[in-house]
Symmetry: D3
């Protein structure tokens, strides 16, 4: 499992450090007894799409198939000659990262849409306060 944008955090799209994201995945995999069948690999963005496939190849053990629903990732791996498969979506309208972050910001019931291990970890590290701060600004006049 590649965890992308590894160097980013404290952004609305990447709230958590890659270490925190790995910990969330690890706790869920541990509970499901899957830890010895999965490898979690953080992969930093290189900022140059033409190099992205090489970066993934560099960070990961050899793989045969790429599973992704992200159109750019899919295109880049297709152009590089890889087999790319879709990830079956499970109730995508509800389990959507942007929607869940919005619930966190607005004080809604976000805990129901993430695994229990993830919910308790996010509370442990003050994740809700962090995401709320990320939406604040000290600007008066908007550009």
């Amino acid at each position: 499992m590649g965890v992308g944008s590894a160097q980013y955090s404290h952004q609305l799209d990447n709230v958590f450090t890659v270490g925190e994201r790995i910990e969330m995945i690890r706790r869920v995999l541990a509970k499901e007894g899957l830890l010895n069948r999965c490898l979690i690999v953080p992969i930093p963005d290189i900022g140059q799409h033409a190099l992205w496939v090489s970066v993934v190849l560099q960070y990961c053990p050899k793989f045969d198939v790429v599973y992704t629903n992200e159109p750019l990732t899919r295109r880049l791996f297709l152009e590089a000659g890889f087999r790319v498969e879709e990830i079956p979506k499970f109730n995508r309208e509800v389990y959507d990262a942007t929607r869940i972050r919005r619930l966190m910001i607005e004080g809604g019931d976000w805990e129901s849409y993430v695994p229990d291990e993830v919910a308790s970890f996010i509370k442990e590290i003050g994740g809700v306060e962090r995401i709320r701060d990320l939406t604040r600004s000290d600007k008066v006049v908007k550009v």
Copy 2:
């Protein structure tokens, strides 16, 4: 001829790799018999405008005049003491990159607005499929 943003590709504003962009220019210049009078130089963005003039000077053989219509490039070279000239516009409303990309995305007649060599090269490398994929997203809720 400087080809800027050399490290970028697979973005809506920079669809093609710099190698692909050089190839398009090269084919047109070859057809016009101008190859031995032009030098095509890819120039990477440095991301720091105050260094941009130095980057261009570093990548290009000595030059006396800068031809550009881009206001930031014009200002940076003016502040560095260069002579900057405008490029005469030819039917600018019609030969506009954003408009042509939109035609490609929407299945319109984009081929009429680029040289034949460019149109056939773009088809050769699946450029239309690429630009369409770049407009797709797997997000459900918009930020």
Copy 3:
């Protein structure tokens, strides 16, 4: 006094080089006789929020309290265990960077909202012309 985004300039949000920004601050501090009580430190953005506190620590002499109104900076230093204080606001609606830049672009009376030393320096280096150029574009069709 940390001057952030040190590597950027010629952008709407960072019009001036960090050297120019230092010069503006220096002239005001000199007039107020405060130069020997302040240290002005340019700090480049690292682009990775999780490293930002370490970058500030690396560039600055030891400090005990952080004064900032910027929510992200405040959060990052709080998470790192620092004491963070607000800067008392003085007539914030009027002395707002975005509003003053807008006055410069539209030919309004911006000089009344910056110290005299800053106004004369900005004229000295053609700052108003620069900021106006930064708002121009050679694009016809908007994305």
Copy 4:
């Protein structure tokens, strides 16, 4: 387990890509039945020692103790207030990376000094040929 210098490979000191290094470790841990008790985390070098501790904190789940024999890593974590412990050395004169690489280059018996899984993996990917090529040069006169 942090695997440092993650972005480097094909160098005498970092012969293998980080993906290949992860694979070697993974195969040994798998054989020992330790996969579900360890987490392997690639960590890229940032090239600025003052930021290194923050990079490690960013990439790894929370940790309490740092195990290392590398003096610079030890110093950086000590200065950041961490507890740092030595890794007990096992026959260090013999199991030394530089010595084993030298055996590979000179055609000696290197296989005896690495786990069987690692030896077979290195042969699988042509690692010995790679390391030999890295010692070659096309220079005639030495600087």
Copy 5:
């Protein structure tokens, strides 16, 4: 023709800017009437060998064969599945960059070992003075 290490100059190994190197090659090709059969492409080093092939592919139009005598470049392209050919050496002991630079530093007859166009260009830009300065140091005690 790829001109590597494009971002470096004023180093003993890369004395000239990539723009100056392009100009030297261009003058020789022009004299030989080969300008319309060659494309000169500056390629910046990425500092990560595992990405190097992708960088070259990104900067260059499509190619089928790689000509190089540099062992690392050869290995990287071989691992990526390319056909790699040697460049026939012509009097390699004499036409050696390190040796010619040494002649420039020591005031020897370097002009006999480069094309006339290159010799006159190097004199035009004060290249000999530059290379001599690069060998100087203001250090007293050596590390």
Copy 6:
């Protein structure tokens, strides 16, 4: 006063963070009553010599003369058309950074060769222990 290599520290050539270096200079200037006549500006290395002059211009307020004894800096500013002056040397054989660092490593009398403010600051932050650690290695076989 430009303080170069601003992003480096914990290296034999750049032992201290740029914040620590600024603090040393600041304490000496304060004692001499020179703080309001000097500006201390940290300048990060860009790693590309052809851009170095632009980086210095970007970080510093406008200047007319460059004082340096470093041959590369001198050459780069001369090529950019600046006036460059030497710094008069004061007992250079004795007040040499490499020699003083060696005294620190070997337990010699280094305090006599730096200002009192610097000596006490270095002790305050454990600078001698740091520089000694930087000379250590956990390698057994040398490359």
